[in-house]
């Protein structure tokens, strides 16, 4: 066990370690991927990193407020399409999305500003929606987010003139590579960590643990939740924008129940209450999905071909999520951050279990 250095720089390192450790993990993953230089693995890792941004965005809201949101994928859709509107296919655009306003119909923006604008649009929608939804209590808010997801899906599927409806938008420039995704995800981590150690994050978490007490202590719960929602929507929207520039094509059904479930599963499996949980969850679940995907396609192991029937990926993922919920409710990380190793102290966490253990 390394003896802790009680010097000022050492203390700062210790304080920032939860964030730094995660950044180091991501850099290692990126370095390994680039070193292996296999296009398929590049794809998988890039997609995982983009999902990381989305899940970190979800965590920023869900982890700090304690409200389960099923609707964040709606913000992802908004961001994805917003980015596509700006960068896509100059000759095709007026034909497939004629309803777009003039200033965007005949213009294209470069990738970086487009993604930021896309994230901002998602954040704006979050502000409008959250203004109403964040007044509701936990369960009510969750149901409302589910309704939001459905509303986004319906609008984007049917508003043909603007989104090309259920037909795909094609021709989006594919520019997102492993280095770009890594930088973006590290940026997302910094934002999320910055939020959770700020006074906003602390205030919000106090309301998560005991809403009545938080209000009594002067926390404006509604305001804090709204702030977190808007910030999280920006991150998720930004992730969506990156996603559309990774896939190259878009259609509304990508951003519905399946993706909502997978991202939520990643967060739950890793641990809903910590940033490390989001990261660990994404990495573990992405790896699992990749293994299962290969098994579905058919893999050779010691001369035997193993092939899982299609759909088993999702079934197994669902079962994994249920197992975590039942046996390890706080997730693989127990909803704790990665802390600098030091001598164990006498603090323990007081579990808030209900008296009714039925």
């Amino acid at each position: 066990m390394i003896a802790p250095l009680i010097t000022a720089p050492g203390r700062r390192l210790e304080a920032a370690w939860p964030l730094l450790s995660l950044i180091i993990i991501l850099l290692l993953v990126a370095a390994a991927t680039l070193w292996v230089n296999d296009p398929e693995i590049d794809q998988t890792v890039t997609e995982a990193l983009i999902r990381l941004i989305v899940v970190v965005g979800m965590y920023l809201f869900i982890g700090n407020s304690g409200i389960i949101s099923f609707g964040h994928i709606g913000f992802m859709a908004i961001g994805a399409y917003a980015a596509a509107w700006q960068t896509c296919c100059p000759p095709l655009k007026p034909m497939i999305m004629p309803g777009l306003p003039d200033f965007i119909l005949h213009r294209s923006l470069p990738f970086l500003p487009a993604t930021v604008i896309a994230g901002t649009l998602a954040a704006l929608v979050a502000f409008l929606v959250g203004f109403f939804i964040m007044r509701l209590s936990g369960v009510g808010a969750s149901i409302a987010t589910f309704a939001f997801l459905a509303i986004v899906e319906i609008i984007y599927s049917n508003w043909d003139r603007v989104t090309a409806g259920t037909g795909a938008v094609v021709g989006i420039p594919v520019v997102v590579t492993v280095p770009i995704a890594t930088c973006a995800s590290i940026a997302a981590l910094i934002v999320a960590y910055g939020f959770q150690v700020s006074s906003y994050g602390l205030s919000l978490r106090s309301s998560r643990d005991d809403e009545v007490a938080a209000r009594a202590a002067g926390v404006d719960v509604f305001r804090q939740r709204l702030i977190a929602l808007v910030l999280s929507a920006f991150l998720v929207g930004y992730g969506g924008a990156l996603y559309s520039h990774f896939l190259g094509i878009l259609s509304p059904d990508i951003f519905y129940l399946n993706l909502a479930f997978v991202t939520l599963a990643m967060l739950v499996v890793g641990g809903v209450g910590s940033l490390a949980g989001a990261v660990v969850g994404v990495l573990v679940v992405s790896a699992t999905i990749e293994v299962l995907r290969r098994l579905e396609v058919g893999m050779d192991l010691n001369g035997m071909t193993i092939r899982l029937p299609p759909g088993s990926q999702e079934v197994l993922l669902g079962i994994l999520m249920l197992l975590v919920l039942i046996f390890r409710n706080r997730g693989l990380t127990s909803s704790r951050e990665i802390s600098w190793p030091r001598r164990p102290s006498l603090h323990g966490s007081i579990d808030k279990r209900s008296v009714e253990q039925v």
């Binding site: 304690g66 409200i67 389960i68 099923f70 109403f132 939804i133 007044r135 509701l136 209590s137 936990g138 369960v139 009510g140 969750s142 149901i143 409302a144 589910f146 309704a147 939001f148 459905a150 509303i151 319906i154 609008i155 599927s157 049917n158 129940l257 479930f261 939520l264 599963a265 739950v268 029937p309 299609p310 759909g311 088993s312 999702e314 079934v315 993922l317 669902g318 079962i319 999520m321 249920l322 919920l325 039942i326 409710n329 279990r353 209900s354 009714e356 253990q357 039925v358």
Partner: protein, 305 residues
Amino acid sequence: MISTMLQYVIDALNLGSLYALTALGIGLLFGILRVINFAHGDFISVGAYTLIVPSTNALAVLYVGALPWPLVVVLTALSVIAVAMLSELVVFRPLRSSSPATLMIGSFALSFVIQHLILMVHGSRPKAVNLWPELATQVELLGLRVQKLHLVTVGTTAMLLGILTVLLRATRTGVEMRAAAEDYQMARMLGIRANAVIGGALALSGLLAATASLLYTAQSGIVSYQMGAPLMMFAFISTVIGGLGNLLGAVFGAFVVGAIEVALQATLPDQLRPFREAFVFTLVIAILLWRPHGIIEARSSRERV
């Protein structure tokens, strides 16, 4: 003019009946288990898929669906109830003492698993199912031509509602269930067997889901692995309107939703019609804001000081 209005009324009653059956199933489980069962729509899908031979072929071959109708009803009900019981054993019971959020995510995961199990066995393409074509004929009623099937739907729902009301109000099991729904722990301290009450609630919920699945399949003629989702969403809205935990309110809410949907279908201009579902969902949010406990507050949900 009057005949069009009557037609709308019948359509609304028909839709409302389907939503009422589903909403009751959700409401029962919420009342007793305090679970928001996202998988209820998938219980309905399970019921529909028992009608056909398991295969990934595009063409569905009737299996249970080809039997005489009493058998169809019984077998479908049994299979849905079995899935409901299994869900209780594997998901709801282990999570019994968890937070409402965990329960919600758990039922979401259950829904996901059931959907994809169906997909594994039957494939992802929707299939056409011809159930009880003899009910597609029309009869004359009050000067209108109404599908027999719609009459059967409304009639069956009314009958089931009646039976359920009698069961809950006048039988010992019903009183025990209502007690458990209000205060589960106190009910147990009075000797009420928890597992029996839960089993009863699941069986009823399964029966309601099975009925809904048969009627819905007969009407729509299609089964798909995500077919339960829209029904579930609308049923959820109904329970929210009626107040979570209030069974009568759920039924009321269901008919309100049916009426709204028919009204929107009739009045919205063509371009906006596909968005009518979005309007209905927005309504949910609006209602939740206005009355977090639903339009019809359950009498028992008011705080006792």
